[in-house]
Amino acid sequence: MYRTLQRVGQWIGWGWVLGLCGLLVTTAAAEEILPLLPHRGLRPMALGNAYEALADDLDSFNYNPAGLSHLERFTLRLTPIQARVSKDLVDETAELPDLLSDLDELSGLPEDQVVDHPAAQRLVDRIARLRRRDLALQSDFVVLSLGAPLFEVAQTPITAGVNVTNRAFSWFRFRRAGLPWRSVVLDTLDDRVQWSGALEVATIQAAVAAKRHVELPFVRTVRAGLGWRWVNRKYRNDQFEIAEALHPERFQEEHLRFGADQEVSSFQDVLDLVDENTETTRGFGVDLGLQAEHTDYLRSALVVRSLVSNVGEGRFPRTLTVGLAARPLRALNRENDLLDLQVAAALSSPAGDNHLEEFRNNSFTDYLHLGIEAVLLPRSPLRLAVRAGNNHGYPTFGLEVALAFLKAGVAYYGDLETDWWTGGVTLDF
């Protein structure tokens, strides 16, 4: 009887936590919401961001601070660079030689032959295609993370860590607007180009996590973590009509704070230019995460990112995620040195941390994150990880090679808005 009551009490407790989190999510104040733009490592991206229950390394800073408690020694990670390029930009860049060749061909023709030349038509077709493109480039550079177990309080090991991220980000979105003229040129003139640029220098995260073995039904270990981030972001959001670009002087006057006689000859000039053309926003956010180990092969998680946040005159989107991760081979008593397998799933707030509200599909896939990871030779110095996933309904996959402390990999990552290719190098000590 007592055990039944205890169990009921535990379910009520969990229900209360979930309800509170749900309440926090749904009662968001009507203030400006800025995208969080968390640093996403190659591993979580390839796993479709189904990482909250899986988190057991320094990627925990951006997914579930409770995951830090898995660190059993001082761990340092340096990511010199991780670049992310939208698939549209990759496609356009791949065709750049053709474009240059067409332009070269056209420039050599007499003016009266330019019009009917196939290269001119290819140029028009290219413009038509460009109107549906998302051209984006993101580069995270010198990302430094470290974490270490510190001490024990009442048989509860405490782990803490710090993460510093630097990032440059640029995005051009083309959207059709106005009347549907038959002429591509006419139809394009009033199309809108939205562009965003952001530069984050020394965005700092700190997290503390604790692990506690418990004697509860279905729960063996509980991990809890609290993360704090301080964001230092210079950003610019603007939009213009294509036709405005045909008037360079006015365009520069209205959209760029850059004098005609201004020279850019040093790094300081570049910084000045960035300063003049961006707004600086600083703010903080607090994440709360829980992980529960139910067996040696099954783990669940509950995370609220940006539970509390304040940035500029707004806040980051508050996202609630529940997740599950499992090790099927361990569950089947088939663990071996050749292959390790992990699967994970998560349900999260539909628009995600970057508040991609306008791209939601309004279906169950908006909430969905799935991932599977197969690591070959998991206990050897040379390892190969193959991953696949589903992020908000869009496919992800990745390949990573690890040799001792060096890791290099590539991933394909789809989010609500567009698809990306990403690659990077990481040093794990």
Binding site: P180, S183, L246, H247, A326, A388
Partner: protein, 312 residues
């Protein structure tokens, strides 16, 4: 036994779900026209189709078409058939429907009444005044008619009015006059009004007597289409559907130039070429000679009168 089965099926289920089932909007869906522009889009389609049927469409996707607009203007003979004239009217009507559907209102033409011959200074106050334009533009913006859309509709209307006028004049010319066509890039004017008979030394009344009723009607109608003003040949006044021909070639040309000047100077240069070919060469040339041919100018756009007087 249960545990392996659960995990095997769970993993298989997960694997099968990995490949995304969400789809981004297709190109066609992204091209979807907002509801506020549906009616206007339909009217635009009708206008473009009518121009195509009349074979007077401009292929602006050909790079340089705007720059070589003079060479794109059709020959007068191609504009005289009732079928082509009907298509031009349909296109004009449909372009006005675009304005109407998007709540875009047009300024009135500022006309001056001339009680004496043009070459004597008789400027009077404008017959109409502008009203409420700012509010209307704001409304148009809400519905989504962009500056370039508005400018290009004005441009096409100007083009259609001009072709309509040239067609009417060319059709009635007979043995008296012709509309000479010189689309070459180096020619000063594309359409030139040229008498086939020698009218030099004739007095105005004698020249007018050479015009039959159809030719007189054609001239006064053409001047109305080109300028919006009223010219009379004795008792013959313009007879045009006022509901259809709401403004004039000159009016729409100025509106297009003003808007494109704000947005894209390169495109405005193309408009200026049309202005040079049609406005300066055809319209001004006709206006300068009408009185010497016995026509009476009653009203003309203020800016045209002003310019002609300044050039005297």
């Amino acid at each position: 036994m249960k545990r392996p089965l659960i995990f095997l099926s769970g993993t298989l289920l997960l694997l099968s779900s990995l490949f995304g089932c969400a789809e981004r909007p297709s190109a066609e869906e992204e091209e979807e026209i907002p509801a506020s522009l549906q009616q206007a889009s339909q009217a635009l389609l009708t206008a473009e189709t009518a121009m195509e049927r009349a074979d007077v469409q401009l292929d602006l996707d050909k790079i340089g078409s705007l720059r070589s607009l003079k060479e794109e203007l059709p020959a007068p003979e191609a504009l005289t058939s009732p079928r082509v004239q009907q298509e031009l009217q349909t296109a004009i009507d449909s372009f006005y429907e675009v304005f109407e559907a998007t709540g875009t209102s047009l300024d009135p033409i500022e006309l001056y009444t001339l009680e004496e011959p043009l070459f004597i200074d008789t400027l009077e106050a404008p017959l109409f005044q502008e009203d409420g334009q700012e509010l209307i533009e704001e409304f148009a913006e809400e519905l989504g008619l962009s500056r370039t859309d508005e400018a290009m509709i004005h441009f096409y209307l100007s083009y259609l009015y001009t072709l309509n006028a040239v067609g009417i004049l060319a059709e009635a010319g007979g043995e008296l006059y012709e509309i000479r066509y010189s689309p070459e890039a180096d020619s000063a004017n594309v359409y030139d009004f040229v008498f086939k008979q020698n009218v030099e030394g004739l007095r105005p009344r004698e020249v007018l007597a050479l015009f039959n009723d159809q030719q007189r009607q054609a001239m006064v109608n053409a001047i109305r289409l080109l300028t919006g003003g009223t010219v009379r040949a004795e008792e013959v006044l313009p007879q045009l559907d006022e509901a259809l021909y709401q403004r004039s070639a000159l009016f729409h040309l100025n509106e297009a130039a003003e808007r494109l000047g704000e947005v894209a100077p390169d495109l405005k240069a193309a408009i200026d070429e049309l202005r040079d070919s049609v406005d300066r060469e055809l319209i001004e040339e006709l206006i300068r000679q009408l009185e010497s041919w016995g026509f009476v100018i009653e009203t003309l756009p203020a800016d045209l009168v002003e310019r002609i007087l300044q050039e005297q």
